[in-house]
Symmetry: C2
Subunit: 152 residues, 2 copies
DNA sequence: CAGTATCCGGTCTGATACTG
DNA sequence: CAGTATCAGACCGGATACTG
């Protein structure tokens, strides 16, 4: 087990995790991201799905765009004028494994026993797929083999 | 790319991810967990490290204990009376890979260019390791091959 | 140490309305 | 549709003090 520490080995100010938490660590932001990962793109769609106050949604979307997690771009349906939509950037896509990991955690530890509603599979082989850590060759590293270290 | 959706395929109420977000999706809770993963265990240690108001810390710790993520138990130093400390439960430990994934994300996408202070490596091969999805054989599945589906 | 008690000001929430 | 405007109330954050 990890020994007791009086403080974390890394100061908050230069901790990437802390930074990520500052950006993403709030309920609405995470729920918006969840929607985005499922394909929701438009203001009113987010608003209806989450029942989030429009002012708050507006603010959160701006923040996500500012941080480069969503991009705001125009789409156009025929006969109608262009309207904006919010798409995941590469940074946003990179959150997919993280949030799916959180989803798995929720299923395993925060579930009330009802069947897990999401399953992840490989689109071709149909095999079940789960979040994990892989090395440069794409081979899994078990948690027990994972080494967390400070640079230099 | 994921097609546009008017709403997420899974209602919020039975989404494990949404549930996890309700429990963990707030700044202080995540920062406390970060400390706990690094070995911080005691009230005042959390308080000093995070500079969190004591009332808030008290409330968050209770919530985490209620949700079974931390356990509150006594420790005893010689000559002193027993005092409580907060340790990660199995559910809490299960968040380690998730938060490490978030840390990697922060390093890759939310960093200001300063060197990443944490690196994840394989303890034997020393290869760098990153979060991803693997199939049952431990082989990586590319994001483009990932299929998200509902259990019937 | 490990909390609880207070207090105050600010931000977020939630509801509703208005506009291009 | 995609927002901004407004407003009341809840909750949170921050500071400080007090107790076993």
């Amino acid at each position: 087990m990890i020994p007791r520490a009086q403080k974390s080995p890394i100061p908050l100010d230069d901790c990437h995790l802390a930074k990520a938490i500052e950006i993403l660590g709030d309920r609405w932001t995470l729920l918006i991201l969840r929607g985005a990962l499922f394909g929701v793109r438009r203001f009113d769609d987010f608003q209806k799905e989450l029942n989030i106050p429009r002012t708050v949604l507006s603010g959160r979307l701006k923040k996500l765009v500012d941080h480069g997690i969503l991009t705001k771009q125009a789409y156009k349906e025929d006969g109608k004028r262009a309207r904006p939509e919010y798409l995941l950037s590469d940074a946003g896509e990179a959150l997919r494994p993280v949030l799916m990991g959180l989803n798995q955690w929720g299923g395993a530890w925060a579930s009330d026993g009802t069947a897990p509603p999401i399953s992840l599979t490989h689109s071709k082989t149909r095999q079940k797929v789960r979040p994990a850590f892989v090395d440069e060759d794409g081979r899994e590293t078990k948690l027990s083999e994972l080494r967390i270290s400070l640079r230099r």
